[in-house]
Subunit: 247 residues, 2 copies
Amino acid sequence: MNFRLVLEYDGTEFDGWQSQAGATRTVQGCLADAFEQVAGAPAAVTGSGRTDAGVHAEGQVANARLETRLDPATLLRAVNAVLPRDIVVLELERAPEGFDARRCARSKLYRYRVWNSPVRSPLRARRWHGVAAPLDVAAMRGAAVALVGERDFSAFRASGSDAATSVRTVTRLDVLGESGGEIVFEVEGNGFLRHMVRNLVGTLLEVGRGRREPGSMAALLASGDRSRAGPTAPPRGLCLVRVDYSR
Amino acid sequence: MNFRLVLEYDGTEFDGWQSQAGATRTVQGCLADAFEQVAGAPAAVTGSGRTDAGVHAEGQVANARLETRLDPATLLRAVNAVLPRDIVVLELERAPEGFDARRCARSKLYRYRVWNSPVRSPLRARRWHGVAAPLDVAAMRGAAVALVGERDFSAFRASGSDAATSVRTVTRLDVLGESGGEIVFEVEGNGFLRHMVRNLVGTLLEVGRGRREPGSMAALLASGDRSRAGPTAPPRGLCLVRVDYSR
């Protein structure tokens, strides 16, 4: 049987979505363990994508293949009862055998939260990236325009990334909020390369600090050179908000 | 010298504001230690009130008496550099000798956050109180009306509270949001008895669940009987937002 899941997790204490060398506590691993505890047999869990260590999700989608006699509502409650407190299944329903959360995903929405203040914020410590220097929000908005559309994002791709192509379509890149407070980047697209959202944000933050021209994004994309883009913004600010599937 | 401080802290890992029997890690203690490290001599730190263990603040006010040659901006940075990451001084300025953060406080604003959903929320685990049963927000708003004004809040006072009088003025008690999502209680008043905000919220939540009549608040106040009010809502949902002083 195949089930479609919607997940929320606080990524702070996870080594990311998927088991990698040295990773001890992964979202996928916790889910597989919970389903095995409840159903008594191993479950194969596939996520829409692999969130990095420290990255959060309020709407990650996955599918789980397992055999069980429990109805979906009972399975949902049983799995949540055994999952650790930093992860929860928000929705669980039967899915067609052909549903694969990764291959069928059509679009994703990420949010990146920046707390722009000279003083750090303890209440935002887990979910916001603090930037002390004043940020020019209008400049970041201006730069973001060139990053929307079907583009080759090689310059924003993590080294060692193994995707076949680095062409992706970003349908939206909004910079919400204002300097000296909460600034939220909303990035929506049909797919993202490894570290791509964090590299986009890290580069836009350099624009916001006046270290990079708002008009320089087109040339940066054209260069395809990762070493010319900004640093990877830290994972704590990033949250996978929603994954869309065509019906 | 006397300094006025505005503080933010995540109360999750504190044993409250003030040292009590068995308390090992208090907000007041961390602040006194930090000032002593920076100024080289003990500091006397007084808060506007004693937040309980687990209660947060985004605008607690305190005053600190200490001798230092550092100017306020330098002292602010130095203290924040040695404070643990779950507490920060947002503002620090010289204050008149007569300024006492507790005695001079005229009004306080608290927020209590409730996540109303059958499924728990890992991303809200530290700051929101989860209530699974549907809550009737209109009923809670109706009940709140009778709690606004100058009243004897004996029925909402923690046992063992040692305040001379239990008469307080609540100037505002708003219930924001809607059933099945984020519900926020905003309570403003000239002073609060120990556990008073959490007892008000705990009682209103019983109204929201249909276990108590919205029209029953006046009789409850008149009874002055703590055992007739609802349970104390858990500390994690509570945040001291602002303390006002007359100029």
